[in-house]
């Protein structure tokens, strides 16, 4: 590895209304390294990267790239200069095809005028194969699963042939198999002399692929270290300013209670194939599986968000018909979706109004919403979950990803549901917040609630759940008690090797 500095961001400052997202941040990268950028939710990682790609204009500071002062104009200038970026939020065009999305903004032309679809397709296939993805490149992106879309984002960044590639939480939606492919790709990129900035909340990954780490906290640089000089505890200390004790909460002391939810043979062609499972009072039931295994679809079916073609659902022994979310909510089932921006939150509304949305009936008096009670309710949950927000009246759109996720959780906690389904509840959430959420889940379970957690992170599934279900292509292929589960066993079921 050469010591040549390829990127230097000096004294960067970025203001949002009411928030100083970046405060005199300095950050530099060497050519050919994989440089991790760490920090809690809202530390400013994504913002710093958006400044780098010129998606945002900084209020102060300068960027030196390849020894030249980089003029901030617009994303295309950054792209041309050799900076490719995979953003944290999806930026694909849903109605366009995979191939069009990959080359968006950089379509090859024939005779200098018309788009050359043929060579575009060929190139796209090659890229996707390299990522272990066998996909019809003429499919519209809207028909792909979230994970497949993430892979398209990665392919898109790779196709730019950039010298510096930023990956902002690329693995948040991926499962281990894709992650392995991605890491393989990262290593070969590194070998060919490319520089990579890697953002993730999964610390194990940092040790696996990164050379150095820079930590941000509250919009300021904490410091930069070689990964070899660090262990997990040191890393966490840099991020949160203290060491964390036990990461995963202790398991249930309370013995699990009676059967609450019983799902029998539910079917939805193409996604769910005769799925049956049950869930008990006081347990955390983990659902693991590879991308596209149908876990989200299963949760949606139970919640009444999608129509099911066949099968029965019993609650406390009685058969129930849940054909719309409202019914599920009335039966005290809550569902925190994996995609918070599209499905979890009303971005234009305030934190307060998002939290109170499911429980308006509790703060009505004579048919009118009582503002004081609403405010108190929201403030209570902001405190319980330590949501970082300028106030409960601030629009939820201005919060960092992790804090937005906490608002989603607050909404269902406020509703006091008996069954809470959490789809990727810690996606994109920092370690500190993760531990808080795990503890909260455990506390809720101890109170006799049923927690169903869908997660793609194996350590999390194993660390938190009392019982684990594994899905593979629309079927449940394995069930484990927490004590018995290992990553290998789960992976075998998830890949369909054992049925």
């Amino acid at each position: 590895m050469s010591d040549q500095t390829i990127l230097q961001m000096k004294n960067i400052e970025k203001l949002f209304p009411g928030v100083k997202a970046l405060d005199n941040v300095t950050f530099s990268c060497r050519k050919g390294e994989v440089h991790a950028l760490l920090g809690e939710n809202g530390a400013g990682k994504s913002t710093l990267m958006k400044v780098l790609s010129s998606a945002y204009q900084p209020n102060a500071g300068e960027i030196w790239f390849k020894g030249e002062l980089f003029r901030h104009t617009d994303p295309i200038a950054a792209q041309k200069a050799g900076i490719g970026i995979i953003y944290q939020e999806f930026n694909l065009v849903p109605y366009m095809t995979v191939v069009e999305n990959i080359f968006l903004g950089r379509e090859p032309l024939m005779n200098g005028r018309l788009i050359d679809y043929k060579s575009m397709r060929k190139e796209a296939k090659k890229l996707l194969n390299g990522l272990g993805l066998d996909l019809n490149v003429n499919l519209k992106v809207q028909n792909l699963s979230v994970a497949q879309q993430q892979m398209i984002e990665i392919a898109k960044a790779l196709s730019m042939n950039a010298e510096l590639i930023v990956m902002d939480e690329p693995t948040a939606t991926l499962t281990d198999r894709e992650i392995d492919f991605l890491f393989g790709t990262i290593r070969s990129l590194k070998e060919s002399g490319k520089t990579i900035i890697y953002i993730s909340h999964r610390l194990e990954e940092i040790f696996e692929v990164c050379d150095r780490v820079t930590v941000l906290k509250d919009g300021k640089t904490v410091g930069t270290e070689d990964v070899s000089n660090l262990d997990k505890d040191k890393m966490i200390k840099m991020m949160v300013g203290r060491t964390l004790g036990e990461y995963y909460p202790e398991r249930a002391h309370v013995k699990r209670g009676g059967k609450v939810l019983d799902v029998r043979n539910i079917k939805r062609s193409g996604v769910l194939d005769n799925v049956s499972f049950e869930a008990y009072e006081g347990e955390i039931l983990g659902i693991s599986g590879l991308v596209g295994a149908g876990r989200t679809e299963l949760a949606r079916a139970v919640f009444g968000a999608d129509h099911i073609e066949d099968g029965k659902i019993y609650l406390d022994g009685d058969e129930v018909k849940i054909n719309e979310p409202l019914k599920a909510i009335k039966m005290n089932i809550g569902f925190a979706t994996e995609d918070r921006k599209q499905q979890g939150l009303i971005l234009g509304l305030s934190v307060k109004k998002n939290i109170s949305l499911t429980v308006l009936d509790t703060i009505l008096k004579g048919g009118l919403i009582q503002p004081k009670q609403e405010k108190e309710l929201a403030e209570r949950y902001v405190e319980i979950l330590k949501i970082a927000t300028p106030g409960v009246d601030a629009p939820v759109s201005g919060l960092s990803g992790g804090n937005q996720q906490k608002v989603v959780l607050a909404k269902w906690l406020a509703k006091d549901c008996k069954i809470i389904i959490l789809d990727e509840p810690t996606r994109g959430i920092d370690v500190g917040a993760k531990a808080e959420i795990y503890n909260l889940m455990r506390k809720l379970a101890d109170q006799g609630k049923v927690i169903i957690m869908i997660s793609s992170e194996l350590p999390e599934i194993i660390g938190v759940s009392d019982r684990i279900l594994v899905m593979h292509s629309g079927k449940i292929t394995g069930e484990f008690k927490a004590e018995e589960a290992t990553e290998e066993k789960i992976m075998k079921c998830a890949t369909g090797e054992v049925a």
Partner: protein
């Protein structure tokens, strides 16, 4: 630092809600200086009267726009309501009133159903309804105006409280108040914002999105019908073409009042301000005798400038 955050935030919040009020005040002052007639009590009362009908229609439009939709059919629905009032005058005030309201609400229900169950985009569904309802009105009235309104309703259009304040003005104010409470303090209102902000998110929060959207169209049509009743009693006539062009005026007022056409943001207070701004402008242009063509240019420009000012303001935060 935390304090700083909050105060900044609130200032922004304030500007968002009251920025247009500021424009209104400026406009008011300019008018008062330029035209000696403007500040006369009678003139000011006239303005409030003149904006009442379009104001009530615009309040209804606010509901549909907040859900992320739009209602192009308000003009014809209003006109149809005038036809009902005039056509059924012989059956007495209350039956005519109820019939006019019932038909308006029915049109709203049809529109809402087309949009929610038929999954037709609001613009297109209401465009279709617009043409259809005019056609029905013309068929009913054979294209002729129907003269006269029921005894006992004319105070709605012509009455004055204490012999000074027009009843129309009072009805407008009451409608605005009721709509404001509905939007800010009830579940329906909150859900209208939620649906306009994120439909799928609302559905997954247990909101019956279809029902909420349909309600918005029923409210919009209902208020258009109510405005039609007022207008019929003011003009003493019912006619199938009376509301033509009203939809664009109402939409302009809502937009000038700061409600986002994308849905989820804005409110009735803004709409009332928007309606009054446009009303004052019309009055002022007449008072200073600006010729017709020029008025068109000025009005088009004012709509653009008002909305531009808003967008500048909200962009400053970036």
């Amino acid at each position: 630092m935390s304090d700083l955050k909050i105060s900044k935030f609130n200032r922004h919040h304030f500007m968002e809600n009251y920025g247009m009020l500021f424009v209104l005040v400026i406009l008011f002052i300019v008018c008062a200086i330029v035209s000696p007639y403007f500040l006369k009590v009678e003139n000011l009362l006239n303005i409030t009267r003149q904006v009442s009908v379009i104001g009530i229609v615009s309040i209804g439009m606010t509901f549909t726009i907040l859900t992320g939709g739009i209602d192009l059919s308000v003009g014809p629905v209003l006109a149809f309501s005038t036809l009902m009032i005039a056509g059924f005058k012989d059956y007495g005030a209350i039956p005519a009133f109820l019939l006019a309201m019932a038909m308006s609400l029915l049109f709203g229900l049809v529109t809402g159903t087309l949009i929610t169950k038929g999954k037709i985009q609001p613009f297109i569904a209401t465009l279709g309804m617009m043409t259809t309802v005019v056609g029905i009105g013309l068929t009913y009235s054979h294209g002729h105006p129907i003269i006269g309104t029921p005894d006992g309703l004319s105070f709605l259009g012509q009455g004055k409280l204490f012999n000074t304040i027009p009843v129309q003005t009072i009805l407008f104010a009451l409608t605005a108040l009721a709509a404001s409470i509905l939007l800010n303090r009830t579940r329906l209102g909150r859900y209208i914002y939620a649906v306009g902000g994120n439909e799928e998110g609302s559905r997954l929060s247990g909101i019956r999105v279809d029902r909420i959207k349909t309600s918005a169209y029923v409210i919009s049509s209902g208020l258009a019908g109510f405005a039609g009743i007022i207008m019929a009693n003011h003009l003493n006539v019912g006619e199938a073409n009376l509301g033509s062009g009203m939809e664009l005026d109402a939409i302009a007022s809502v937009a000038v009042g700061g409600t986002s056409l994308a849905g989820g943001r804005g409110g009735v207070v803004g709409t009332v301000i928007g309606v009054i701004i446009i009303g004052i402008l019309n009055n002022f242009l007449n008072l200073i005798n600006v010729p017709g063509y020029t008025q068109k240019i000025v009005k088009g420009a004012i709509i653009i400038i008002a909305v531009l000012a808003q967008s500048m303001q909200s962009n400053r935060k970036k």
